[in-house]
């Protein structure tokens, strides 16, 4: 078994998403002139955050499932 790639991908996009969302909330309107007046940091930050969390959820579910499987194997092998 090697590293589940969904874990680092989920983590990095959760971090990027949080950074951009927070930055979008605190930054003034002035910098959004070039993005046609849209607060892209906030909106795209939320998209990245959602993507990151979904990836993380999949990775964590896989870890849980593996734990459960090893536990059942352990309990059957010990009389």
């Amino acid at each position: 078994m090697t590293l589940d790639l969904r874990m680092p991908i989920g983590l990095i996009f959760t971090i990027f998403g949080s950074m951009l969302t927070v930055y979008g909330l605190v930054s003034g309107d002035a910098i959004y002139e070039r993005s046609l007046g849209v607060n892209v940091n906030l909106w795209w930050g939320l998209v990245l955050l959602a993507f990151g969390l979904v990836m993380l959820a999949f990775a964590i579910r896989a870890v849980r499932r593996r734990h459960r499987e090893t536990r059942t194997i352990d309990s059957t092998s010990t009389p």
Partner: protein, 569 residues
């Protein structure tokens, strides 16, 4: 051009990315125990990861910057690189060639040539490939450092050093797995970093309808029919009707058949990713799965270039002009990033750009490692050593592969011509290779001598053709006509390249057949089992439900590609 100012948040994003890249290498280092782990990821990579890595190994500098530049320069016709070139080739390699690559247990493409033909064919391919990867990785490094110098004002030497050290560390620790994992991460970064750019650009020009309207001005200003920048097939009837200067036959044969099949079916850089897959089915599905996002990539990499040229012409002066007064198309994508993305998202876009350059380097370095260690060191220099010995050699090859790449990057800054010349030579070597593989895999009578001398003849034919023709407006020399006489003038460099490839392929194909018939077979039917189509038991996918079979996936991929071609006809 005016330099982009980036803020603390942009630097923070970049630093988080670097930390993850190194962290992945660190987390993977304990899984590298044998040379197979290091060079082939122990053949344990799941399909979706192998597929995305197959896609992103090729998503280096030339793709992101180059396709954006071509989108600006040639418009919608650039999509042929995907919908005529890459996709059919990816389907072909998955369905027809992967059974031999994966099934033969060859550890590299040159090793397949050794099993199928002989040592000299393998040696020729291994050496040209090793040189080619080092220079490609050097070009990537050079392009990244030049771009950062131009756009952000970073020091050239610092950028070269930084990218070299980071790539070195993560490959050294995790081998191919580390490169593959980072390629997948890079895939998501490019999608997430470029999508907002495309959406904002489209919103700005008024959607696809607004873009086509603006591109009509671009086309008529340049003296073409109004739709020349926004249609992919309609203006292919003659070379003079489109900015690319090619007609449909040169396009379909040169780009679609020879160049794309030559690249996707024989280049170890991409094949290595499929060879690392965890089963035959996974290996066959790898290129097919990669084809699905690949067919949508024009929206991410070509569209920004098209929007850039539309804005450049209709609103004036978006792209910086080169010394000859034409726009500097290579800056289309960086300029668009700076034009639309505010601090924050800009950091993400730049991170995506850097990720693509670094993966381009890493892909080349991992392919170099394997070919050097297996096909040159193990077979010619020190055969019969322990596995641990070859694993150490792989680590050492990573270090000197990167050192050579750095040297190549600096050679490029000194002698721009050397790089052009090398790329030319590689084109000569690569174009005929697909004929060798096609005959080798599907005609058992092909002999070792036939393959080797056919390959040489094809390479020579490419050089001779290139030496006798010239693209319009070029001076004799590297661009062609180095034999003095000009037999034919092509309307563009692209048309010349396509035809060079066609001549090289045809010569290799015919010469290999003729020489094979004149020489004795060097491998018996028994030795060719698993290497040649007629002598390999058919794979039966019957046990799988129909929707999981590679053939079903292939049909779906081809049908979708056809639809895209028709929509943007």
């Amino acid at each position: 051009m005016q330099q982009i100012h980036i803020g603390a948040i942009d630097y923070a994003i970049l630093i988080v990315y670097f930390a993850f890249v190194l962290g992945i290498g660190w987390a993977l280092r304990r899984f590298v125990k044998s040379s197979d782990d290091f060079f082939l990821s122990g053949r344990s990579i799941p399909t979706w990861i192998a597929g995305l890595a197959f896609l992103s190994a090729n998503l280096g500098a030339q793709e992101v910057i180059g396709m954006g530049a071509s989108g600006a320069k040639y418009g919608m016709m650039t999509s042929h690189f995907y919908w005529v070139g890459a996709i059919p080739a990816m389907v072909f390699v998955g369905i027809f060639m992967m059974p031999f690559y994966y099934g033969s247990r060859a550890r590299s493409v040159p090793e397949y040539l050794k099993l199928r033909f002989d040592e000299k064919t393998r040696g020729f391919n291994a050496i040209t490939f090793a040189v080619m990867t080092v220079f490609s990785s050097g070009i990537s490094m050079y392009a990244l450092a030049k771009l950062l110098e131009l756009v952000l004002g970073w020091n050239f030497h610092t950028s070269v050093l930084l990218s070299a050290v980071i790539v070195l560390i993560y490959i050294f620790m995790g081998g191919l797995t580390s490169a593959i994992y980072n390629e997948v991460l890079q895939f998501f970064l490019i999608v997430m970093g470029f999508l907002p750019l495309v959406l904002l650009g489209l919103k700005d020009v008024g959607g696809w309808a607004g873009l086509t309207a603006k591109l009509q001005t671009v086309a008529t200003n340049a003296g073409y029919a109004p739709g020349a920048w926004s249609a992919s097939w309609r203006h292919l009837s003659s070379p003079s009707a489109n900015p690319m200067g090619v007609e449909w036959f040169g396009m379909v044969m040169g780009l679609g058949f020879v160049l794309s099949f030559g690249y996707w079916c024989t280049d170890f850089l991409v094949i290595q990713r499929a060879m690392a897959a965890n089963s035959m089915t996974a290996a066959r599905r790898t290129p097919l799965l990669a084809a699905i996002p690949k067919m949508l990539f024009p929206a991410l990499v070509i569209l920004p270039g098209m929007i850039a040229i539309a804005l450049h012409v209709t609103r004036g002066g978006l792209l910086p002009l080169g010394s000859d007064g034409t726009p500097n198309y290579n800056l289309a994508v960086p300029v668009m990033l700076a034009h639309y993305l505010p601090s924050g998202l800009l950091g993400l876009g730049l991170t995506a750009l850097m990720a693509s350059f670094m993966s381009g380097m890493a892909g080349n370095v991992t392919a170099f490692n394997a070919v050097w260690t297996y096909d040159i060191y193990q077979s010619h220099i020190r055969p019969g050593q322990s596995d641990a010995h070859y694993l150490r050699m792989g680590h050492a090859a990573t270090v000197f592969g990167i050192l050579l790449s750095v040297a190549a990057a600096y050679a490029t800054t000194r002698f721009n011509n050397i790089m052009d010349m090398l790329q030319l030579v590689f084109a000569f070597v690569n174009a005929p290779l697909f004929a060798t593989f096609l005959l080798g895999m599907f005609w058992r009578r092909t002999t070792g001598h036939g393959a080797f001398f056919g390959l040489l003849a094809g390479t020579a034919a490419a050089a001779i053709h290139h030496g006798l023709v010239l693209p319009q407006g070029a001076v004799p020399g590297l661009k062609g006509a180095f034999f003095g006489a000009v037999l034919h003038t092509y309307p563009s460099e692209m048309a010349q390249n396509f035809w060079t490839a066609i001549f090289a392929w045809t010569t290799c194909f015919v010469a290999t057949i003729v020489i094979s018939l004149a020489t004795r077979r060097n491998k018996s039917d028994d030795e060719l089992k698993g290497l040649v189509y007629a002598l390999t038991p058919r794979l039966t996918d019957g046990a799988m439900p129909w929707y999981k079979r590679p053939a079903t996936l292939a049909v779906v991929v081809l049908a979708l590609t056809l639809v895209l071609n028709v929509i943007f006809w």
